[in-house]
Symmetry: C2
Subunit: 264 residues, 2 copies
């Protein structure tokens, strides 16, 4: 449990976290000019680089300096799924879309989320190459840099573009090929953060993929703040300690998709 | 057949065409603030807008002013597949990725290509929202704005990201699901021009989709100039008057894919 409570100045917190992320962005941009060390994790297409590790450690150091007892769940350091989510928990994804980072040098994000007693308080998704930070929480709304976002229109599946994780689409998990065919089109960008930003901005009506808590923690705060649905495919609440299928969608698209998916 | 020959000043030609496209971009940006009229063409997800038509007419007027006898093959006006491709032919795609234009207001391109006696002379792909124009031809190389592009590394399928048209992936056309699974990952951006730019920039090793001549004419010039393969899935030359499956890829990825696809 973290040693601070979030009833202190939120605007100071936002300024501080965004400051860390801007510093992280400069480190990442610098790294793009150097040789990057790449290792595989769970499989040949699950990558980690020295930069993921460096940025995660940078964030951990900053958080611990701010709150020495903080609970931190980071992509590159998380090993304990028996954590207590009471109090304040920080979720870190230093580079979301590491494959894009390595192969494309764009279409990736650095993400931080803050939860208190299991509820989302703040999400921050920084599209590094576009140099735009999306951030906010339920008490203040969602912003892109300094501009407030309006909630996206509650578009139906048929009238919108849908993001689907490639393995889910290829293997027709839960009948998601039918979901794709009922939509206006499928988009695959290769980063959960970038995909969720497209839903938040109303550029896609949904995104469904197999995700880990740090993949969706920040996006969940922002999406729910804007009135979007963030649940499992079956409409269940997400467990903030385990991986699962995750559907971020407009409420109408969520209903349309629920009618099409097969029982698991 | 066009009434001019391309042995005149190419740099004047480039300046002129890029000037038209910059003017077209401003019209498109202005249109994004207004109500857009949308109609369907071959199916509910094949869209055309008043802006596609306006920009195509704008280009046609400019080309005819420059060369009153030019042969023009434009997405919104083409009806005759019995054309003579001797002499100079212009290919126009006023907005490539119209669905993205309508739903996302980004990830679309305006494209022009010039062929002489069936051979690519110039390709111009303008990523409208990134405000970057990719252009060039076999005699001068390929540029992004004023920067010369180096040919992408000849990466194999296994080590690169692959773009696949969503219908091809969902229906496993010619075994393309296996191609996707052998790659480092699948990316679907919803615009042939944007997908081909990713191959040209070395951000994907290939792109395969069902395309019409104006979808691939400009990309073919740029990709071939950089040493990439632009053929049908079976390695046949493309007919510049008909739609077909098209594979733009590094030479190594093209060989890898040829081994995986099933006979048609």
């Amino acid at each position: 449990m973290g040693g601070f409570t979030l009833d202190k100045s939120f605007s100071d917190l936002d300024k501080m976290v965004k400051g860390w992320m801007k510093e992280a962005r400069l480190k990442i941009l610098k790294a793009l000019n150097d040789e990057i060390d790449v290792w595989t994790k769970s499989g040949r297409n699950d990558l980690v680089t020295n930069i993921d590790k460096e940025i995660e450690n940078f964030y951990i150091e900053k958080i611990h300096h701010f709150d020495s007892e903080a609970t931190i769940i980071g992509e590159e350091t998380f090993s304990n799924d028996d954590l207590d989510l009471n109090g304040v928990t920080w979720y870190l994804d230093p580079i979301d879309g590491t494959m894009n980072f390595v192969k494309q040098k764009e279409h990736f994000a650095t993400m931080i989320a803050i939860y208190e007693n299991g509820c989302g308080v703040r999400g921050y998704i920084f599209d590094v190459m576009r140099n735009k930070i999306f951030w906010g929480g339920p008490d203040i709304g969602v912003f892109c840099d300094n501009d407030r976002l309006t909630p996206p229109i509650n578009t139906s599946l048929r009238d919108g573009l849908i993001g689907i994780g490639a393995p889910y689409l290829i293997h027709n998990f839960r009948n998601l090929q039918k979901v794709a065919l009922q939509s206006s089109g499928t988009r695959i960008y290769g980063s959960a953060g970038i995909q969720i930003l497209h839903v938040i901005e109303g550029k896609c009506v949904g995104y469904v993929s197999y995700l880990r808590p740090w993949d969706f923690a920040a996006g969940k705060v922002l999406a729910e703040t804007l009135g979007l649905s963030v649940k499992t495919i079956d409409g269940k609440s997400l467990n903030m300690l385990t991986s699962s299928d995750v559907l971020v969608a407009t409420k109408n698209a969520q209903k349309d998709i629920a009618k099409l998916v097969k029982k698991s």
